[in-house]
């Protein structure tokens, strides 16, 4: 899973990917790991084995067959491109290159409106060293051709 899921995503999963048969591996989706963390309780309460990985571990986990399907959350579609949280392009590329099905699912979480610090933050603190800049791509446009299904 990449991005912050919408509140109804849990209901969709229950019907299509029931707990007990499926576990959920979540990329941290930096810098929105706090928002993600707040929404994980719904899945653990629903009986899903819930695993968090760093965003830098997505390629490893897909290549090592730790995951068998990928979901990317999106806000809307414009001109055959899904507007996803920054990082959506990377996981879509990885899924395609490494042969794992990648699907889009809508979310009410809007990374453009979410509050982030001036610099790159983690756990509430700015981690950008003095003198360095930071760059946070909140949204990426990802071609729909990367995705097998769009919900």
């Amino acid at each position: 899973m990449y991005g912050v899921p919408g509140k109804e995503f849990h209901e969709f999963l229950k019907a299509r990917y029931p707990s007990g048969q499926w576990g959920l591996w979540w990329a941290e989706s930096r810098p929105f790991e706090t928002e993600l963390s707040q929404r994980l309780n719904a899945f653990t309460a629903g009986g899903y084995e819930t695993v968090v990985i760093g965003d830098n571990m997505m390629g490893f986990c897909i290549a090592r067959k730790k995951v068998h399907a990928v979901f990317v959350f999106y806000q809307h579609v414009i001109n055959e491109h899904a507007c996803c949280q920054g990082g959506g392009l990377l996981i879509a590329v990885l899924a395609k290159k490494l042969g794992v099905t990648c699907s889009l699912y809508p979310t009410d979480f809007d990374p453009e409106k979410a509050v982030v610090g001036d610099g790159l933050c983690f756990a509430g603190g700015d981690i950008t060293p003095p003198g360095a800049k930071s760059y946070i791509p909140r949204v990426e446009r990802v071609a729909l051709s990367y995705f097998k299904e769009r919900w």
């Binding site: 990985i53 760093g54 490893f60």
Partner: protein
């Protein structure tokens, strides 16, 4: 030439040595006192020192073990050195500690065979080798800089112990402007150290989330990717901090060259033969002692990944830059200089 802070992150002082604690940087510059090889193994295992720091730590651990046993019976000294080798080799599974400790043990056995005082001989060998290594790294930075065009932005991952600063300096000396993008590198944020070092040397550096790399490369904000490596196999595959592989896949997808700094390949034929360390998920799920994710969530933290040679444009060795397939032949020449 003054080296960047992480290019030489340890120093010896008689029978002890001091290791720069990378887990406390950049906020605090604190050194850990190591009085034995056990202290050294703990610092490596706890990731307080990494990359070239762990190489230095291994050699300094042998150095102080030798100094503490100067004039000792050869059998006893060799036995202690073997114990040190075992402890250091077991500190982390992926890095080729065994190749380095094997070098030290060969020196010790040679001293014994030639009837020399093992400790004194070892001290001379270790200090000379480290000095030699320093020169090789500076030269390698020059080879890397030659791959960078004026005005280029370099995307890098994790931290290469000061070498990215040396590369930037070599560009600067050649009159080439260069900018850097550093991935944050979860969970220890080694990218912060890269950004800190580069900013401290006056370079334009931007830190980005690990997931931002495809966007950066797709938009051609970066003209090349350059990373270090913990291991290289004889077929040119590399093993490096987790995230390197996906960076290479993204670089290939968007037509951006991908370069890797490498050292001695050792005897491993293929990257997939190198074990990947899996570390405690607490290191991912907590930050500075405080849990970041709900208690019933677990984590998964592979510390490294393997990037096949097919994704690598050129390897940057101590002897120059080569295509990955040229590694076995190239190493025969460079290896003799080691």
């Amino acid at each position: 030439m003054e080296l960047p802070p992480l290019a030489w992150p340890a120093y010896d002082e008689g029978d002890v040595f001091y290791i720069l604690d990378e887990t406390r940087l950049p906020e605090e510059k604190v050194y850990i006192k190591a009085g034995s090889y056990r202290d050294a193994a703990l610092a490596i295992g706890g990731m307080q020192t990494r990359a070239f720091g762990q190489v230095l730590t291994l050699f300094y651990a042998f150095l102080i073990t030798a100094r503490q046993n100067r004039g000792g019976k050869p059998e006893k000294v060799i036995s202690l050195l073997r114990a040190a080798a075992r402890a250091l080799e077991q500190s982390r599974p992926t890095f080729a500690f065994k190749d380095l400790s094997g070098k030290v043990m060969a020196w010790a056995e040679r001293a014994r065979a030639e009837g020399k005082d093992i400790s004194s001989f070892l001290e001379g060998q270790i200090l000379a080798f480290l000095e030699h290594l320093k020169g090789l790294r500076v030269r390698r930075a020059g080879y890397a800089a030659a791959l960078i065009g004026s005005g280029d932005a370099v995307l890098t991952h994790c931290n290469v112990s000061g070498e990215m600063v040396l590369i930037g300096r070599a560009c600067r000396e050649a009159g080439k402007g260069v900018r850097f993008y550093a991935t944050e590198t979860r969970p220890y944020f080694q990218g912060r150290l890269t950004a800190w070092e580069l900013a401290g040397d006056g370079f334009d550096v931007t830190m980005v989330p690990d997931s931002a790399v495809a966007g950066l490369l797709c938009e051609h904000r970066c003209q090349l990717v350059m990373v270090g490596s913990d291991r290289v196999a004889l077929n040119g595959d590399i093993v490096n901090k987790v995230g390197t592989f996906q960076l290479a896949v993204a670089a290939r997808t968007f037509g951006v060259p991908f370069y890797a700094l490498v050292q001695e390949p050792g005897g491993v034929a293929r990257g997939e033969d190198i074990p990947v360390e899996e570390r405690d998920d607490k290191e991912l799920l907590a930050y500075r002692g405080k849990r970041v994710y709900p208690e019933d969530v677990r984590g998964y933290y592979p510390a490294f990944d393997m990037t096949p040679a097919a994704y690598i444009t050129r390897l940057i060795t101590f002897g120059g830059t080569i295509e990955p397939r040229e590694l076995p032949q190239a190493w025969q020449k460079v290896g003799k200089a080691m």
